[in-house]
């Protein structure tokens, strides 16, 4: 059977084009504190996606009139580099899509941050997609949470995200670019892993009630895996700092 597009996304033995099982996420590697000039930063590779996130703050708000009297202002900018996409070079000007994704990422991160801790300040999150291969908004959220923690921003929990899609009528975790393009649906989901609270849920395509319940279950499982990688990245970064200081003198 093939999907609505007529392109075959599953092999006879039920594997996906890149050999993954339906509930399998792509290889994910996160690195924390990759930039010296930012207050916090993170780099994520999820399959072929490569995304770098820089966090600045808490700092004084510019322009000043945007400052909020009772809480911190969280600003996000998701942007794709001209060479991040396979087809024609993307114009560096922010597209409507990027503006929207910036907004949903901000809303996905906001619930995890103790914004009231530093009134009248801002935290700025800059997300640069170096190479894109599907599910970049959720990968950006996963990396941004690590960068925020690295910057020392007070948070309730980290946030991690994954996309659930429908290919040839079956639910699949972590859509690749091609699966997103030719599949029948895409549902990006972000959660606070420990609390299990959903902070982002979008969908295009058709999903039945049962499929949504199943999708959330699959997302939760994948997000817990990503959460482990987030923690590993943060701990590795600082175990290096701790190790270099033990004893040895320069």
């Amino acid at each position: 059977m093939t999907g609505a597009s007529g392109i075959k996304l599953l092999t006879e033995d039920g594997r996906r084009l890149d050999g993954r099982a339906l509930n399998e996420i792509r290889r994910c590697r996160i690195e924390a504190g990759v930039l010296k000039n930012a207050d916090g930063s993170a780099y994520i590779e999820l399959g072929r996606n490569k995304i770098i996130v820089a966090v600045y703050g808490p700092r004084e708000v510019h322009p000043r009139h945007e400052a909020l009297p009772d809480r911190m202002l969280l600003r996000c900018r998701y942007s794709m580099l001209p060479f991040s996409v396979a087809d024609e070079r993307k114009s560096p000007a922010p597209t409507r899509r990027e503006v929207e994704i910036s907004k949903v990422i901000r809303e996905a991160l906001e619930p995890a941050i103790f914004l009231e801790e530093f009134p009248r300040t801002s935290v700025d999150v800059y997300i640069e997609v170096i190479e894109a291969d599907g599910s970049t908004r959720v990968a950006s959220i996963t990396a941004a949470a690590v960068a925020l923690a690295d910057a020392g921003i007070p948070m309730k929990d980290l946030v991690a995200g994954v996309s659930i899609g429908k290919i040839e009528g079956k639910l699949a975790v972590d859509l690749s670019g091609i699966e997103d393009q030719y599949g029948e649906g895409d549902m990006p989901i972000a959660m606070m892993p420990r609390l299990g609270e959903i902070t982002l849920m979008q969908a295009d395509g058709r999903f039945t009630r049962e499929e949504i319940v199943q999708a959330l279950k699959m997302a939760r499982e994948a997000i817990l895996k990503l959460y482990e990688e987030q923690k590993r990245a943060l701990k590795e970064r600082y175990s290096m700092v701790l190790a270099t200081e033990l004893g040895e003198e320069r």
């Binding site: 703050g57 004084e60 995890a112 200081e245």
Partner: protein, 234 residues
């Protein structure tokens, strides 16, 4: 009743990670939900006693506190105040009333007292998040810093340069023959008789603030002074 501790000394915790459950005394940034304690920022854990845990944040912006000594940089002159950068998300104000009884001075007079770019030692008079922090220079030893070497360290770690009851700062100024102005905002000024003295002291201060956590700052300072002296002798 079970009262588990989920962490051990030297461990790193991420925001939202469970620290302990039960009657614990937790210091540092945490969130409690009932009797469960969770980390709030990226921190190193120090188990001080059986039921006492301290979380030491790895990074922290300087938030002014009433009475803090800070080292500020004058960035602008207003009609009746100076704007002072105190290495914080909040820019401080030093009002003219703190210095002279004249309420509407001439611009020229203002810059005769402090000019843009001047480094000043000041105390935080008040701060409550709704308004910018106010500074004072009314106490002795406060005011313009005419010379010295400015060292910038992490605000989260600067307290170890002071030490318990100022022990570390006293020790450093005595053995190294320098005067130290330790701003809570992570700015330390060392004033010595020669540039060499100042560089040596600056080296010790920088190294002292490198580690995320030191158990005994005074011991650490003594060790670093030894190392620095050897390096400078060579």
């Amino acid at each position: 009743m079970r009262m588990p501790l989920y962490v051990s000394s030297g461990q790193l915790v991420v925001p939202g990670e469970l620290i302990a459950e039960g009657s614990y005394e937790v210091h540092g940034p945490f969130v409690a939900s009932g009797k469960r304690y969770y980390a709030k920022v990226l921190s190193v854990v120090v188990v001080e006693k059986a039921k006492q845990v301290r979380l030491i944040p790895l990074k922290r912006a300087y938030i002014p506190n009433e009475g803090d000594l800070v080292v500020g940089k004058v960035i602008d002159i207003g009609p009746t105040f100076w704007l002072v950068d105190i290495n914080s998300p909040y820019t401080a104000l030093l009002l003219i009333s703190e210095i002279s009884p004249r309420l509407s001075p001439q611009q020229k007079e203002m810059s005769e007292i402090f000019r843009v770019g001047d480094l000043i030692a000041a105390k935080v008079l008040s701060f409550d998040f709704t308004h910018d922090p106010l500074l004072t220079v009314k106490e002795p030893k406060l005011g313009r810093i005419a010379r010295g070497l400015l060292v910038e360290v992490a605000p989260a770690r600067v307290s170890r340069v002071i030490g318990k009851k100022g022990q570390v700062a006293d020790y450093l100024s005595e053995t190294l023959g320098v005067e130290l102005i330790v701003g809570r905002n992570g700015r330390v000024v060392v004033i010595g008789k020669s540039p060499d003295d100042e560089t040596l002291a600056a080296y010790v201060v920088t190294r002292l603030c490198e580690k995320p956590y030191v158990e005994d700052p005074l011991e650490e300072a003594k060790k670093l002074v030894e190392i620095a002296k050897k390096r400078w002798a060579a």
